[in-house]
């Protein structure tokens, strides 16, 4: 079922041929008595970069290690370009893996590290030298080729690791939280660099991360995972604008959460006040969500444009952060956070004042079931 949905999803931003390259069919992993991954199916298209996004323990790294062949799945099938690789040993899989901890060979120089994969493939010495040089130039480290890894900074080490993985021109590039050990500024640089290298080489890539910003900004599509199964598989836009589950909505981007109810008549209400939403609504207890920056803070009796929702509440907190105003508004039992860009004329409402929060009907996300 999951597979069908992927096929009909919108085409990738970069892939010229939307052909499935890496396919996982009903792959499962059991450690002892624990079903770490019950059953997982997905298809990554040739040339696209797909993020496995989820909190720690969601099975994203386990899945990556199964693709790399470092652990064997308990069941299911993994194939690359329709060739079944489920039982293929690691060294025959032709995949490039970049680790969070870099995992460079500490006893080898930078160029020896990069040359390793080529030597294992029995490539001629002269060609190795040329390709290592090219790969190191690609990550701007040609001048450090004779250094040992320990003489390099974290960012440089990760670039060596990237060159080492790419120089062998693997069929698939696997990245296991490659940016998590870097500081914020370096992380931004590396994000751009990894993405542009991946697009230049047109390599199919899987990017494991727990950071939604990395997933949203770098990848063509995102697999949101939780507890060993896929919550949603879609483009960054789909994941952010049309989250399939409350978990996706709150894990990717920030959300406000209101408990509400859909009456049998189809009327949606929260804290006794009626609301508008698009699409079909599930009858019964629901969770209503919307993004803080899509909500506007209005005075109690200000005009609300048509097609917008309005909820009356009481202002319980307000913070001026220069380019933003963050306000907390209590609506019934719930609290809504509002984020609004400031204008010169913005007059801050008083604490405890009666206010109205307002947002477009289309920004309302409704999920069946009560708050958990």
């Amino acid at each position: 079922m999951m597979l069908e949905r992927n096929m009909t999803a919108s085409p990738s931003r970069t892939a010229k041929v939307a052909e499935d390259h890496l396919v996982l069919s009903e792959v499962g992993m059991t450690f002892g008595t624990a079903d770490v991954i019950p059953s997982l199916s997905l298809a990554v298209r040739r040339g696209e970069m797909v993020a496995f996004l989820g909190p720690s323990g969601c099975g994203k790294t386990t899945t990556l290690r199964m693709i790399a062949g470092l652990i064997a799945p308990s069941r299911g099938r993994i194939s690359v370009g329709w060739r079944d690789i489920t039982r293929l040993p690691v060294h025959e899989r032709d995949m490039g893996l970049v680790f969070q901890s870099y995992a460079l060979f500490p006893h080898m120089t930078v160029s020896q590290n990069v040359a390793f994969g080529l030597e294992m493939r029995g490539i001629a010495k002269r060609e190795i030298r040329v390709r290592v040089e090219t790969a190191l130039e690609m990550v701007q480290l040609g001048h450090l080729s004779d250094r040992k890894p320990r003489a390099l900074s974290g960012g440089q080490q990760q670039r060596v690791a990237l060159a080492r993985a790419l120089v062998v021109e693997p069929s698939i590039l696997l990245l296991d939280e490659p940016l998590s050990n870097l500081d914020a500024k370096l992380r931004d640089e590396m994000r751009v660099q990894i993405r542009s290298l991946q697009q230049q080489s047109g390599i199919t890539a899987v990017f494991v991360t727990h950071d939604q910003v990395e997933a949203l900004s770098m990848c063509d599509r995102i697999v949101v995972m939780r507890g060993g199964h896929i919550e949603q598989f879609g483009t960054p836009g789909e994941i952010y604008e049309h989250p399939a589950t409350p978990f996706v909505a709150s894990f990717v981007g920030r959300t406000n959460r209101l408990s509400g109810v859909v009456e049998p008549s189809g009327r949606l209400a929260a804290a006794g006040q009626g609301l508008l939403a698009e699409g079909a609504l599930p009858v019964g207890q629901v969770q209503i969500m919307m993004r803080p920056h899509r909500v506007a803070l209005l005075a109690a009796h200000e005009h609300v444009p048509p097609g917008h929702n309005a909820l009356r509440g009481r202002l319980t907190g307000i913070t001026f952060v220069g380019d933003l105003i963050q306000a907390n508004v209590r609506v019934g039992e719930d609290e809504i956070t509002v984020e609004q860009p400031t204008r010169r004329s913005t007059a801050l409402p008083l604490m405890g004042a009666e206010v109205t929060v307002s947002w477009e009907a289309g920004d309302t996300m409704v999920f069946a079931g009560g708050a958990t």
Partner: protein, 290 residues
Amino acid sequence: MTTAIALTRSRRRFSDHQVAIALLLPIALINVVGFMLPIFNLARFSFNRATTGGGIENVLTLENWTGLLRDPFYLELILNSIWISLGVTLCALVLSYPIALYLHRSSGTWRTFLTVLVISPLLTSAVVRTYGWIAILSDEGPVVGAIKSVGLTPPPLMFNINGVFIGLTEILMPYMILALMAGFGRLDPKVEEAARTLGATPWQCFRRVILPLTAPGIALGCLLCFVLAVSSFITPKLMGGGRVFLLATEIYDQAIVTLNWPLASTLSILVLIIFGAALVAYSAVLKRLD
């Protein structure tokens, strides 16, 4: 308030340097009296002349040293000792390496349990363990019995070089395992995984990554085992049955049986020189590894 003043005053009275010297002085004295002086004495004996009846004639002569190097019996004994020690070290290394690697990779209670198992032989004296080996390897022992039961003629295992070799290897293995594990710090499983994903077969991964990264541990273990093997006495004495002549047993014979102390001293200093050479080789290996 008063204590604080007293503290600052006492700190001023003795500098850090003086405190360090005061703390090191006792052990330095014990070492000088208990180790350096006897060694010096031993070195001096090796240039004295032995007289009949265990006496030492206080003259300065090189005849112990020249005699040693001219006597084919002693040359063979020295070379034998070195070769056997190197062989035992190599065997202990080959047998201990997989155990150390497995221990390094295991974790939790299982690791603790196995480590205790590895160390436990050290809690028994080498004499007891050697007698254990004598029981196992003797002509009526289980090993000979097992070989005979499949219709083969067992080689003589006891009271010759074979028994010494087997016994020494087993007795030195715990030291080798501990030294190897101490040197395995740089071995990160992620690095092995990186090698495997880059196309290295298990053997290539071992040869190109695991072995170089564990080399410091190998060097340390070999140094330790070699030194212990060269100076081992009880096992060669008991398991050799008086037919295996090694440096340590010969020193014992010269000092206790023949009462030729100058010759015993010369052999002892020779053992020290061999240790020095092993240490130099170890440092050279470490330097090359870095």
